[in-house]
Symmetry: C2
Subunit: 525 residues, 2 copies
């Protein structure tokens, strides 16, 4: 989690445009009943293609996911966000329980001596650590750190709990908040001073078991992104420069934001090797009665996932939520007409919601009488609800509903008789379509290069660059130095597990030395 | 949340007896296989009746619920604890969602100006607030507080989000950690510097709606205690002296620990009235177009619940877990015999676990070959597993299992044919029996008094005292002053909603003035 985050697009510039426009029920509205609102400027001020950073800030605020907070870099996660977080959590928590990983909760605080035990590790985090020095009016005897991650919090106790080979594997996870007091460019979800995550910490008797788990967990992260958030990710290994501070190797799932041409580390699964075990003396007596050291992993994904989802799927109308994580999958809106049977239409809306709800679909009706249907369409589009159902006099007469997709605005009339079946199909279709479209856009950005000139050209075109590399740390440092500019340096994102052919004699794009592998390069968040 | 916690029994004296005995697989054991351990002093050193405080510390550590941490007042919640917390959370979270309460997440940090906005409120918390003053090597411009509770964190945004009557009610909840840097007697679960809780914060247009919700939530808290933790609680209202700082009135569920004769506030549901609304300017335009102020509630329960569970049900053998919250409800132990069919017995254990698991019962087998059956019995009794199943040669021959209850040691043989049915029944019976026994013990401690002499005598006998009271704050202060001693002062626990008859002319036990109500008095945690 330490490496891999140096620059961003997006950020706090706009703070949601000063006073937030309220997408909520009575936004800026008076109490005068029945005074139907016309279109009231619900649209976003910025376009995704033109001003991505401002667009992002606006969409997370106006979509009611985030509220900016009076402490910079801290954000309020509103219910619209939390239901997405909870949907992912429900999946992931059940999966790790199948792997016999158990939940625990370690303290928020860590004492300085313990925090500083693993030098390389602490150097990665030290500048960002928040320190508590006072309680009430009194100074603490010793300042106490707030966890930026929990390796040093937990491992002294792993040392205590693990004695013999039968105590292994020890597999724990916690869902918690962590604090990294970063000063550069706070951005909702993507880079915040406090964020929510899960962190898994496991210890094994053998490296083989640790290696296997690293990939098991990485596969779950892929599923979170691809199956839940409908975002394609690349599985691979981090370079030595970009790996977790103090660990042996880091694997990750990497996403890509076409609009900014930046990669984004989606989640990481680290093999820590025996480095922490050595520092924290996590030893055990093996089956032969000999003293051995454990092999450890740690792995995490955070609320950053949600920011990636907004960036990838959102459009100029607002958020676009994948059905599998949407708190409201279907919004039902009455479209009354002057002389029509208004009560009949409202009743049909309610009964449609009931029918869908009974079938396990998250459906709600917006029956407010002080907003026009058009205003409601815009409002729920802004919030990214996957499907809109409109019911008007003609629908009532024909025992049908009109269904409109958020992702592509496609409209279709569905007979009430097959409502549940067709809505279910549509939700599956939308989920798949979001993933397919995102994959097409991402793939269109992938550029294979073999020379430095091609590399620089591709970088200028905001590509996700796949290049043959000699795998030398000095060369990566050199590339970073040579590309350092306004947009931020380019670095390795990962070496993908899926490797193209590397013909004998292929040379590194940057050093001209023999290439050892294909790696992805790019600017990143 | 502020009031009501002044003294305790239990605490940090022993830190789990120095080096923790490991209840885990290979406790202090070598790697030599098949060397069956004899009884290895798994028993507790302290008895619940003789040295309650040491017994409590020992049982939470040896039962593997808690590990003491190197920062005083912070504790590690181990998986055995977290599964209890999650069982309660699953229930409570589903129930509040039915009430249309939505989850959110507000920041851990609060700026000093906002924290100090409501004077009375902040005075209740100020001495316990932890302050962050540094990040990395730099001093922060302004120190930042860590939330002790989130009224002041949230309400500035309630003011922003609520404009018209259609924005109401606003009903949010969050599951999070809070920090109160208390200096007196830290005790695992009961009084810790960081703890987990949920905090609900709601705003309504009318006092009637707020009043109704206070009781709806209190009923859920009663159900958490009575239905899940099998602990009887008393619903009632706190005195003016003991209510939430800055609120209008506080209701609570109160539990009682017979061994120490102390009451313990189980959870609180506060009506905040309009005090915070005034300070944070949470106004709305009502249906008549007039400006009005909201009515607010806040309510919370914490990991303290788990400490109460340990104190109420635990015994000299260790923890006793109610089946509804136990991570393992049934532990299956093979009892091989010299010439018996060991493999057959082990297979029967595995198939028993499978049968129970398929029926939705949390069952596990302890097939370790380096511990004797007797050691395993003690181990799982220490951990409080509700039911033990033993399978030996005779059981195998008779197609039966022997079942032993943790709560009362009752043994019964169950034919395999009716295993699931009878185990399910037994778990229900144990849950009910724990509640009944706890209620009998609690009720045996309730003492009705009408005079000061009776009151003092009952207090000496560690009773839960029900006394007629004039309901004057000065009188409660006077009682506290007069009873201040080594054991801590006596105060009101609550005025129960269920009031005994109060005949005309009844006088206050303490002041001799006319009594207005019956209230519970006692020492408390």
């Amino acid at each position: 989690m330490a490496g891999g985050q140096t620059k961003k697009a997006g950020g706090e510039g706009k703070k949601g445009g000063g006073e937030t426009k309220k997408g909520n029920a009575n936004a800026g509205g008076g109490g005068k009943k029945k005074e139907v609102k016309k279109e009231t400027g619900l649209g976003l001020s910025y376009k995704k293609d033109e001003n991505f950073g401002e667009w992002y800030s606006e969409v997370v605020v106006h979509g009611e996911m985030i509220e900016y907070y009076d402490i910079s870099g801290c954000y309020i996660l509103r219910p619209w966000t939390m239901s997405i977080w909870e949907a992912m959590q429900e999946f992931f928590d059940a999966e790790i329980k199948k792997l016999k990983i158990k939940n625990c909760y370690f303290p928020l605080f860590v004492s300085p001596t313990v925090l500083q035990k693993e030098k390389e590790h602490v150097e990665g985090f030290a500048p960002e650590v928040a320190w508590v020095t006072k309680s009430g009016q009194s100074d603490l005897e010793v300042p106490i750190a707030i966890r930026p991650t929990s390796e040093t919090v937990m491992y002294p106790y792993y040392s205590k709990w693990i004695r013999g080979h039968r105590d292994l594997p020890l597999k724990l996870n916690q869902w918690c908040n962590v604090v990294r007091w970063e000063f550069s460019n706070p951005t909702p979800f993507i880079r915040s001073r406090e964020f929510l995550w899960q962190e898994g910490h496991t210890a094994f008797a053998t490296k083989a078991e640790a290696d296997e788990e690293v990939l098991d967990i990485l596969e779950l992260y892929r599923r979170v992104y691809e199956e839940y958030l409908a975002i394609p990710v690349i599985k691979g290994k981090k370079s030595e420069l970009e790996k977790f501070a103090g660990g042996l190797y880091t694997t990750s799932v990497e996403a890509f934001i076409p609009n900014t041409g930046r990669g984004i580390q989606g989640a990481t699964s680290h093999c820590l090797g025996q480095n922490f075990a050595k520092m924290f003396e996590i030893n055990f007596e093996d089956e032969k009665g000999e003293k051995a050291m454990v092999w450890q992993n740690s792995w995490a994904y955070s609320t950053r996932t949600i920011g990636v989802m907004v960036m990838v799927h959102g459009d100029d109308k607002g958020l676009v939520l994948p059905p599998k994580v949407a708190a409201v999958q279907v919004i039902v809106i009455p479209v009354p007409f002057k002389d029509a049977d208004t009560q009949g239409i409202f009743d049909a809306c309610t009964s449609t919601v009931n029918t869908l709800t009974e079938a396990g679909i998250h459906a709600e009706a917006d029956l407010r009488d002080n907003y026009s249907p058009g205003w409601k369409y815009s409002h729920w589009e802004l919030k990214g609800v996957p499907l809109r159902i409109e019911i008007g006099p003609r629908d009532l007469a024909n025992s049908q509903v009109r269904v409109v997709r958020r992702d592509n605005s496609a409209k279709v009339d569905i007979p009430m008789a097959s409502l549940v079946e067709q809505v279910k199909d549509l939700l599956v279709t939308i989920q798949k379509s979001l993933y397919d479209v995102a994959t097409q856009k991402r793939d269109a950005c992938i550029q294979k290069v073999t020379t430095w000139d091609e590399f620089i050209e591709a970088l200028g075109q905001k590509k996700l660059i796949l290049a043959p590399w000699c795998d030398e740390e000095e060369v990566e440092k050199d590339v970073k130095a040579r590309t350092k500019g306004e947009m931020g340096a380019c670095k390795t994102l990962c070496t993908p597990f899926e490797q193209p052919d590397l013909p004998e004699g292929t040379l590194c794009f940057a050093s001209g030395k023999p290439a050892k592998k294909w790696s992805y390069w790019g600017r990143s968040y």
